[in-house]
């Protein structure tokens, strides 16, 4: 008895295949649409901001204080505030982040304490930024008595970007090959000497990339700053860090009230007067431009650094 043979004529196979191949092509088109659609939105956003705010993208805008008169308002105090805050953020996040990453990669034994630290770092990356604001409000502003100051703002943002710096540094450190470390240990170097003489110098590129990306994130953060009491109408600049008399450098600016670029934009966007919307657009264009520039620099640094070290 012959078993029934299912024979499928070649034509119908071919028809089935071409049907499925069409599906393939359709999906490719859909995928490309979504992909470039998303990117297009970024472009539209930037262009629209520039167009809306073009009237105000002038030198005057950069050098005037905010004002009740939309025409005269500027972002001087805002971008100075942002710069000063970034100084504090970088000064805190960089050493703490790099040190923590070095500890986790080079020193930490495989025990529960290390696991706890690593879980915490991962968890902190997912905490909403406004929670950092609440933390800072309760801890820095009131408990530590730092007040609503640049120092508090800088510390808050430093904590916010700490996971970014830690992760980037860990990756950079991990990329240094084991053989280099072994050779150094075999010559009698201590763990710190191996880290400082061999591991860190070759991780600088990756660390720098992480720092730049962290700062670009910090520049755009609004919520935590609002929570700790950023003001949006500051018509004066904090005292300059540099003075003309000894000791040529002062820290008074750390305890002054502050404003920042995203705060200023938020404040203007919230006003019904359309003239202020123009200001908001201009501020937004500048802010977005800065963010894109910093990310671009970070990508470039990462690219150059990868090419330089060929193990």
């Amino acid at each position: 008895m012959n078993a029934a043979v299912i024979s499928v004529p070649a034509d119908s196979i071919r028809a089935g295949v071409s049907r499925r191949k069409i599906l393939d092509r359709v999906f490719v088109m859909i995928g490309l649409c979504f992909l470039f659609g998303a990117l297009l939105i970024l472009v539209i956003l930037f262009l629209d901001l520039v167009r809306d705010g073009s009237a105000k993208l002038t030198w005057d805008f950069l050098t005037s204080f905010p004002s009740r008169n939309a025409g005269r308002a500027g972002i001087l105090s805002a971008w100075v505030g942002t710069s000063l805050i970034m100084l504090v953020t970088a000064a805190v996040a960089m050493p703490v982040g790099v040190a923590a990453a070095v500890y986790l990669e080079e020193y930490a034994p495989k025990n529960w304490m290390t696991a706890v630290i690593e879980i915490n770092v991962t968890n902190l990356a997912g905490v909403p930024s406004i929670i950092y604001g609440l933390l800072a409000l309760g801890l820095f502003v009131y408990q530590f008595n730092l007040g609503q100051s640049i120092a508090a703002a800088g510390l808050t943002l430093a904590l916010l970007i700490l996971p970014i710096v830690i992760v980037a540094t860990r990756e950079a450190v991990r990329a240094v090959p084991r053989e280099i470390r072994e050779a150094a240990y075999a010559l009698g170097a201590t763990r710190w000497e191996v880290t400082a003489h061999h591991v860190l110098p070759y991780s600088v590129g990756g660390i720098l990339t992480g720092m730049i990306i962290g700062l670009s994130r910090a520049i755009g953060e609004t919520a935590p700053l609002i929570t700790i009491g950023a003001l949006s109408f500051i018509a004066f600049l904090p005292e300059s860090p540099f003075s003309s008399e000894f000791p040529f450098f002062s820290f008074a600016w750390l305890s002054e009230a502050f404003t920042a670029m995203p705060i200023q934009m938020f404040n203007w966007v919230s006003r019904p007067d359309p003239a202020f919307q123009v200001n908001a657009a201009a501020a937004g264009a500048i802010l977005l431009g800065m963010t894109l520039l910093m990310n671009g620099i970070a990508i470039y640094v990462r690219y150059r650094y990868r090419k330089k070290i060929n193990w």
């Binding site: 072994e182 150094a184 075999a186 009698g188």
Partner: protein, 300 residues
Amino acid sequence: MQVTREKQDRAESSPQTVAEAPFPTEKGRSAGQIAIEMTRKVAPDEARAVKARAENLSFFYASVQALKSVSIEIRDKQVTALIGPSGCGKSTFLRCFNRMHDLTPETRYAGRVMLYPDEIDLVSRKVDPIEVRMRIGMVFQKPNPFPKSIFENVAYGLRVRGMRAKVLVEEEVEKALRGAALWDEVKDRLNSSGLSLSGGQQQRLCIARALATNPEILLFDEPTSALDPIATARIEELISELRDKVTVIIVTHNMQQAARVSDYTAFMYLGELIEFDETSQLFTNPSKKATEDYITGRYG
């Protein structure tokens, strides 16, 4: 620019085919015959003192025992080779001498490795591994120079020991490079990167780096398995010449290399020491059947 220079260096020092190599090919001759043909005219120096002695040394990776009670005597300023099939524990044994296992978590030593004349137990928990590594040097299987200049590579061990005087450092670097038979090739470009050298040169650089620190024992962990035959030959010649100046322990999976280069040979299998004897004896008249089976190629 850097890339073409690299290629040039490599082309100059390693001819393309084995046929051009100055060493004869090794087909069809037993290790014993080679040992007789190429044995150095000088026999091992019986009068040499014992430099180090492993006493019932055992080693554990977590709960796995990788070394089972190995006892070997290492003679001063002689070359001792460790041979055996893959996984027999020879590299594990070697790395006990400079406490490299301390870098791996969950490892444990048992037994002792006594270093003379100071009578220090190298694997004792009371002895600082840094101190051990200050006395014992190592050359690794894959050449691993630092991405620094040739000079800084060799000088690194000295700097770690606190040597600061520039003139002194330069002297020691030159001595070490001469000792590794590399000085003539690099003396004009001490500032170029260590990575710009060919594979064989890099390995000699690593040897120079270890020699600069005047180690009491110099460990070689399969130093030529990543190199071409010409470079291998030069390194073997170098090791032969280091005899009488430095105590050497070399691990090799190449029996003929052990026969060419060493005074004493230890054969290990599955973490145990099977036989230990003068090289010429071990290869021509092994006392254990397992040794004979291995060196005649019955298993590998």
